[in-house]
Amino acid sequence: MSLANFPNVSDWLAMSNGRLQVRTGKVDIGQRISTALAGIARHELTLPSNLVNVQPVGTDGSPDEGMTSGSNSIEQSGHAVRLAAATLRAQVVTYLCNRLGGRPEDWSLEKGELTGPGTNRPLALLDIVGEIGLDMPVNPGARIADAGALSGLPMRGLPELVQGTYRFLHDLDLPGMRHARVVHPPHAEARLGGIRSDVEAKLEDEGLSVFRDGSFLAVTGPAEWPVVRAAQRLANACEWDAGDGLNDSDIYDALTQANGLRLAVEDGMPIKDAPIPNELTETTHHARYERPFTMHGALAPSAACATWDGKTLQIKTHSQGIYILRESIAESLDLSTDDVILTFMPGSGCYGHNGADDAAFEAALIAMRLPSTPVLLKWTREDEHAWEPYGPAGATELAARIGPDGRLEAFSAEAIGGTFRGRPRSGPNQAGPAKLLANNFRADPINPQPGVPNMNRHGGLQRNLVPIYDIPETRYVKNLLPRMPLRTSALRCLGAALNVFAIESFMDEIARDQGADPFAFRKAHLTDARAIAILERLEMELVARPAKAGSGRGIAYAQYKNAMTRVGVSVDLKVSDAAEIELERIILVADAGRVVDRDGLAAQLEGGALQAASWALKEAVIWDRDGVTSRDWDSYPVLRFSDVPEIDVVILDKPDCKSVGAGEASPGPVLAAISNAVCDATGLRGRRLPLTPDTLTSLALQE
C-alpha cells in the first residue's frame, strides 16, 4: 500500500548535507521504527550509522502512510524503504558500469564505498547518489541484500535520553509561548452551568486568560505552574449540570448478542447482510471470557503545541494518525486541509489511540483565539486517566464439539463488545469531528456517534476471532455494541487480546478436560510447520527448565491476525495464600520472519508480554454515575518492577521469509498463558480479567 501510493525512490530517500535521509509516514512511538528503518537503509547500502538519518514526520512532506498502527510499519514502510534502497544501489552500479566500465558483478560495495574497474580509490556511494539523484521508480523486483549482517542496532536517541537532552513534545519552549490546561467536566454527560465568584476576573488580573466555548473550558498563561494552579482554582469554581450521569449498570450484563449489531464473520471478515450462522449442535464445551475497559495509560499525559498565524494552523502532536487528524481538525474549524500542518514530535509510548488527538484539537481551539502565539497544552494525569478513549470492555463466547477421537469437530466464537474505531477519521455527518472530545462540549456541539462495525479482515472485534487451528465445522459472529457507557477506541491488539485469551484458555480447558497434553492437543490441530516449530522449541525450553514445586505452568500460542508474527508463550507463576499471583518466568518463542532489528524485536515482544501481564493481573477502569473513579496510578494500578518475572525471548530467524510486525503479537497468548498457569496452580479457571486476589477468591468460593 505504501509503495503503491509512493512509487519513487525519492518518496522514501532524500539527500541532505551529504547524508542519506529516510522518509517515512510512520511515527516512532517507542517501538523503534526509526531505528529499524535507518537499519534497513544502512543494510541495503552498507552505510555507517552517521550517514543515515530519519526525517521528522509531517503532513507537509512525508509520504502519507495512514496510521502508525496494527504492527504494520515494518511490512509497509520497511518494505518500501528496503526496495527503494535496493533500487538505488542497483542504479548506482549501473551508472558506474556505464561510466567506468565493467559489469555489475565487477563492482563491490562495502561500508558505503564502491570499488570496481578503473578505480584506484573507493568511490563514496552517497557522492554518486548526489550525481545521479533519486528520481527513479522503485523496482519492486530489486534484489535485496542478504540477511545476516545486522545485529545490535543502536537505538536512535538513546544517548540523548540518558543525558536528559532528548526532546519530547512536552519539552517545547518557544518564544512567546503560552501554557494551557483544560478544565474537563466531571464526566461525559455533564455540562457547564456557570463559574462561581469572580475567579475569572482574578485570573485575568494575574495575566492568565480563560478560554470558554460552551462546556469546553481552559486557561492559558505565560508560565506553567501558575497555569496549573489556575486550572485548579477554575475547576473549583465551576458549577456542572450532571445530567443523568453515567450509566453505571453492570457492563457484563450489557455485553449480550441482543444488544449488539450482529454480523456473520467468514475467513476473519464480517459479511454484510449475511444470515447469522446456526448455532452448533451437540456441543460438548462452552465458555465465556470477559475483559474490562482498559486504559492505554501513557506515562506522559497527552500534549500538543498549536500556533495560528491567521492563515495557517501548525500543530505539533504525538498522534499516531497525523493525516486523519489533520482532516478532522480542518473540518472542525472550517479550514482548508492545506492550511493545517501537523508535525509529529515524540510523546511517551501510547499503545493505541490515547488522548493525543484530543489534546491536539484542544490546543488548536485555543490557539485560534490567540493569533501568532504558540500554545503548549498538556493534559494532567487525571485528564489522561479520565478522558483518554479506553479499550472497550468485551466478552467472547466460545463453544465446541469434541469428536470421539478427541479432536475438535466443530467450533463457534462470538465476539461481543464496543468499538475500537474511535480515531477521528473523516466520514459522513461529521464523523471525524464527532470523535474529537472537545467538539462534544463546545457551544455548538458535535455529539458522539454510535460505533460503526469495522468490516476489515481481522479488524476490530474480529481480530483473531478465528483460531489458527484446523477445525472442520466453524461459525463466527461479531456483535458490536454501538453505544458504551465510556468512550472507546483502538488499544494495542484490538480484539486479538480478548479473542486469543479466550481461544487459548478454551484450548487449555478442553485439553485438561480430556487429560490431553496442552502441546500435543494444539499440535494435533495444526498443519502450519512454522507454528509447530514454535511449539516444539517452547517444549524443549520447558524441559530444560522444570517448573518449581508449587508453581503453576501454562502455555498458549497465536499468530497475530493469523498472518503476522507467531508467538508461543509459557508462564510459570505462584499463587499465594492471599490469592496474589507472583509471575516467576515467561518464555516467548517467536517467528517474525526475517529479523530486521533483533533487540528491537525482542523489546517489542517483551513489552507486549509485560503490558499483557499488567492487564491480566491489575488493570480495569472503574466508574460510577458521577464519573470515572480510576483517576491516578493508585486507583488504576499497573505492573511495577517488583511484579516483573524473568523473561526469555527466543527468536526463530527466517531470513527467507518476509519481515512482519511484532508489537502486538505477544499480549494475547500471554493473557491466556497466565490464566492457564493459574488454573494449573489452583484449579481455578479465571475467565474474567483482571485476575486480582478478589477475583480468585470469589472463584474459589464458587467451587
Binding site: L161, G164, D171, L299, G349, L610, F641
Partner: protein, 152 residues
C-alpha cells in the same frame, strides 16, 4: 530574600515562587528539561532527581524545601563516575523504548549503586518500584543494572 538552590554543582538563584514544585523550576526556569513530569502525584517516578545523593521525586515538594541540599539532575549525572557508568549501561543494553521513564530510572539506578555496589535482582526491583515504565522495558533496564554493577 530569593531562594538559592544548589543544582549540578552550582548555586542558582531562583526567581520562581518558592512554593512551586521543584520539577517546574528545573524544567521552566532553569531549562533543565531532562526531568519529566508524569503524574504530579509522586506515583510514577519520571521526575526523580538526586538529592544529597539519593533519588527523590520532584513533582510535589516545593522548591523551597530543597534549599541547602545538593540536587543533581539527569543533566548533571555524568559528572559522577557512577552516573556515567549507568548511562553507558543503559545505552549498551538499549534499556528504553519510548524513553519517557528513562531519566528517572537512570537517576534511581545511580542512587541505588551509590548505596549498594552490587544489588541482586530483588534489590534492583525493589529500588525501582516507585518508577513506572508502560512500554515494558523492565527486563532491559534490569539488564542495564547488571552491566553497570559488574554482575555480568
Amino acid at each position: 530574600m530569593s531562594l538559592t538552590l544548589r543544582i549540578n554543582g552550582e548555586d542558582r538563584s531562583i526567581l520562581s515562587d518558592p512554593e512551586t514544585p521543584l520539577v517546574y523550576v528545573l524544567r521552566n526556569e532553569l531549562k533543565l528539561k531532562g526531568s519529566k513530569l508524569g503524574c504530579g502525584l509522586e506515583q510514577c517516578g519520571s521526575c526523580a532527581v538526586l538529592v544529597d545523593g539519593k533519588a527523590e521525586l520532584s513533582c510535589v515538594s516545593p522548591a523551597a524545601t530543597f534549599e541547602g541540599r545538593d540536587i543533581v539532575t539527569i543533566e548533571g549525572l555524568a559528572a559522577t563516575e557512577i552516573g556515567r557508568r549507568v548511562q553507558a549501561a543503559f545505552v549498551e543494553t538499549n534499556a528504553a523504548q519510548c524513553g519517557y521513564c528513562t531519566a528517572g530510572l537512570v537517576v534511581a539506578v545511580s542512587s541505588l549503586l551509590a548505596e549498594n555496589e552490587s544489588p541482586d535482582r530483588d534489590a534492583a526491583k525493589a529500588a525501582l518500584d516507585p518508577h513506572l515504565c508502560r512500554c515494558g522495558a523492565h527486563p532491559h533496564v534490569l539488564r542495564a543494572i547488571e552491566i553497570a554493577s559488574g554482575r555480568s
